[in-house]
Symmetry: C2
Subunit: 378 residues, 2 copies
C-alpha cells in the first residue's frame, strides 16, 4: 500500500474573531488537515489537538516528504484513531506559526507581522477557532477530542465548554493548570527569547530573528521532555568529535543532541509564537475557566457547563511514569475532577522511560488503550 | 557579641602556574579568607570548597555589610565548623571572578581581560591552586576538606590526590561525575550566554556584557536548585503586579523570583567564568582522574593515591531527599567507591524540601552531623 498523502488546507474566516480578552481580529486563517471520511450520520468525527510545537500535520505524508505527521503512529487505517472508521481532524492552534493566524502573520492594516500587537491568546481562544472549523466541516458533534500535553488542555477546555458537542475526551500527559515549576521552565524559555537583542520587542524580520534565544528555549524544553534515566542511557558521558573541539563548543553527545534540537526548531518556529503559546498554557486554569462561564454567556449562549450534561460522558486520562514535567499526580487531579462531575473516567499510568515525550515517541500502549476506549463509546 | 568581621585577602603567586592541560600562566592571584586561628601543632585546619557561584567569603561579615558569608550558618564560634577550635580557610576557585585569577582578569601581556584565551580549568586545577595557598598559610595537613555541590567535587579531588594531606573529607549534595542531565542543564546555560550577541566570543567590556544570556543561565540553575514541591508551596500560581502587566513581563510570583535571581547574579558574576567553571564541573570524573594519576607524577611526585594510605581515613557524605539535580543515588556511588578504598564512610540522606539548595539554606541537620563527624576525628 502506498503511504497515504494529505495536504494542509486553509480556512479563511472573513469576519471578526473575538478573543477571550475582548480584542478582535478582522479575519483569521485556520490551517487544518483531515483524515478519513465524515459518515452520513456525521457522528464519527474526532478532533486531535496538538501540543506546543505541533501543527495541523498530525498524520499521513505531505507529497514528497520522507517523514509523516507528528502522530502518524496513532492516526491512520487500522491505527488507534482508525481512519477507516473515523473522520479525524487536526488544526494548527490560533497564535501558532504553521498556517493558522498568529503573531508572525501579516496584519492587513500595516502589511507587517502583528508581532506583539497580536492579542493575547488563551487555550479557550484556540478552542473557539476550532469550533469555527468544525462548523465549516459540518461536524456538530465529536466522538472524542484528544490531545497530549497542551493538546490535552484544549481537549478538556472544549469538552467542558461544550458538553453537548463531544461524547468524550482523551487527555494525555497534561494538567488542569501549570505548577510553579512548569511556569518557571516556560518563563526561562521566554526570557531566553526576550534577552536576545534580535528579538527587538517582537519586531524582527526573518533574516535577523532571535534564533539564539529561541534555540535555547527549545533546548530547555527538550531536557524536560525526556526522563533523566533515558537521557543517561541514550547519551551518558559519551563524547563526539573531541578531536575538533574548540573551547565551549559541544563535546558531550548530549550537548550535540540539544544543539541539533535547537537549530532544527528555529527553522520551523516563530519566536513570538513561542511566547504567545507558552503564555496560553501557563495561564490555563480549567477550574477557574469553567467556573467563570457566566462571563462568556454574552458572547456565546451555548457555552457553559451543566453537571447533568455529563452523566453519559466518558473520559480517558493517560500519564507516563517517568514524565517529570507533567507528573502523574496532575493526571490524577483531572480524574478526580471529572469523576466528581459524573463523567465515567478511565485512568492509566503507563510504565515507560520516555518521559513526557512518551505521548509522541512511545505510542504502543496508549494506542491499545485508546482503541479500547473508542470501542467502548459504541 | 559583635558580629565577627573578616576581610578577603589576596595571595599573589609570582611564578608560573601550570594547568592540567599543560598550559601555564606566569602569575595568578588567589583570593581567600580565614576564620579562627591555626594552633601551634598546625593540626586544626579545615578547607572549605565553594560551589559554582560561591566565593572566598564563606563566613563572618565584611565591614559595613548587612549579610554574612555564604556558609555563615555553618562556620563560626560554636557552629559546625567551630572557629573557636578550627582554623577555617576558604578561597575563590581558579577561573572564578571573585578575586582569584580567571577569564575576567587582565592578561599582563595585553592589559585586556583573558576572555577565552584563559586556559581551560579543571577541578584538579582548582585544588592545585588551593595547595599553593595552604603552603603559604603553613598548613601541611587538613583535619578535613569540605564542600557542597561543585565544592564536594573539589573536596574529593583533593582528598584523593593527596591522601597524606587530609584526615578526611565531607562531601555534600555532589557527584563523582555529572550525568547527561546535569551536563545538559549546564550546556543550556552556556548556550544562553553564547547565544547573546553581546558575548562576542568572550570579548566584552563591563558596559556591554552578555547580561541577558547570563541571567537566563542563572534562572535555569535556580529552577534546578529547589524542589518542585518547595517551588509550589512558595509560589504556586500566585501573581504579583497584574495591574501593571505588560505582555510577557513577569506576572506569576515564580516569574518575578527567577527574574530577580537573574538580575542579582549578573551584578556579581562574569559570563566567561560561568562557562569555564561549569565546563570544569561537567568534565570532572573522579574515577578517571585518579586512575590517570601516572600522567601527573612528572609534575608532582607527591600526588597519587595509595589504597594503603586510606585505612585511617574517614569520609562523610550527605545528600538531600528532594535534591533532583544531584540525586542521592550519586552520593551512594561516592560511598561505595570510598568504602571499597577502605575509607570509613558515613552517609546520611537528609529529609528536606529544600532540594539541592539545602546545602546552603537548610543547615540545621547537616550542622549536627558535621559536628559529630569532626568530633569523631579526635
Amino acid at each position: 500500500m502506498n503511504a497515504p498523502l494529505v495536504e494542509t488546507k486553509t480556512l479563511g474566516i472573513e469576519r471578526p474573531f473575538r478573543f477571550e480578552s475582548g480584542r478582535t481580529l478582522k479575519r483569521i486563517d485556520i490551517a487544518y488537515e483531515t483524515y478519513g471520511e465524515l459518515n452520513g450520520k456525521r457522528d464519527n468525527a474526532i478532533l486531535i489537538e496538538h501540543a506546543l510545537s505541533g501543527d495541523a500535520h498530525a498524520a499521513f505524508y505531505h507529497e514528497g516528504d520522507q517523514k509523516p505527521g507528528w502522530w502518524d503512529s496513532m492516526i491512520g487505517p487500522g491505527k488507534a484513531f482508525d481512519t477507516d472508521r473515523y473522520f479525524v481532524i487536526c488544526s494548527n492552534v490560533l497564535g501558532g506559526c504553521r498556517g493558522t493566524t498568529g503573531p508572525a502573520s501579516l496584519d492587513p492594516a500595516t502589511k507587517r507581522p502583528y508581532g506583539l500587537t497580536f492579542p493575547p491568546v488563551s487555550i479557550r481562544d484556540m478552542v473557539e477557532a476550532q469550533r469555527v472549523l468544525l462548523k465549516h466541516l459540518g461536524v456538530e458533534r465529536l466522538k472524542t477530542v484528544a490531545g497530549g500535553s497542551m493538546g490535552g488542555m484544549q481537549a478538556l477546555q472544549l469538552f467542558c465548554d461544550y458538553p453537548s458537542r463531544s461524547d468524550s475526551f482523551i487527555c494525555i500527559a497534561s494538567a488542569m493548570k501549570h505548577s510553579a515549576q512548569q511556569i518557571a521552565f516556560n518563563e526561562v524559555g521566554r526570557r531566553a527569547i526576550m534577552a536576545d537583542p534580535r528579538w527587538n520587542d517582537g519586531n524582527y524580520d526573518d533574516d535577523v530573528s532571535p534564533e539564539g534565544g529561541l534555540s535555547v528555549a527549545r533546548m530547555i524544553g527538550h531536557i524536560t521532555y525526556i526522563s533523566e534515566r533515558m537521557m543517561q542511557e541514550k547519551f551518558g558521558r559519551q563524547r563526539k568529535g573531541i578531536g575538533t573541539k574548540t573551547v565551549f563548543r559541544p563535546s558531550f553527545e548530549v550537548e550535540h543532541y540539544l544543539d541539533y534540537q535547537g537549530i532544527a526548531f528555529v527553522k520551523r518556529f516563530d519566536a513570538n509564537s513561542y511566547l504567545y503559546i507558552t503564555d496560553a498554557a501557563d495561564n490555563f486554569d480549567l477550574m477557574a475557566s469553567i467556573s467563570s462561564k457566566g462571563r462568556f454567556r454574552g458572547q456565546n449562549r451555548e457555552r457553559g457547563m451543566n453537571i447533568g450534561d455529563m452523566r453519559a460522558k466518558k473520559g480517558l486520562v493517560i500519564s507516563f511514569s517517568s514524565d517529570w514535567l507533567y507528573p502523574s499526580s496532575q493526571s490524577r487531579e483531572i480524574v478526580r475532577l471529572f469523576t466528581a462531575m459524573n463523567v465515567q473516567v478511565s485512568y492509566t499510568e503507563i510504565e515507560t522511560e520516555h518521559g513526557h515525550d512518551a505521548f509522541l515517541t512511545d505510542c504502543g500502549k496508549p494506542s491499545q488503550i485508546i482503541r479500547g476506549f473508542l470501542a467502548s463509546l459504541g
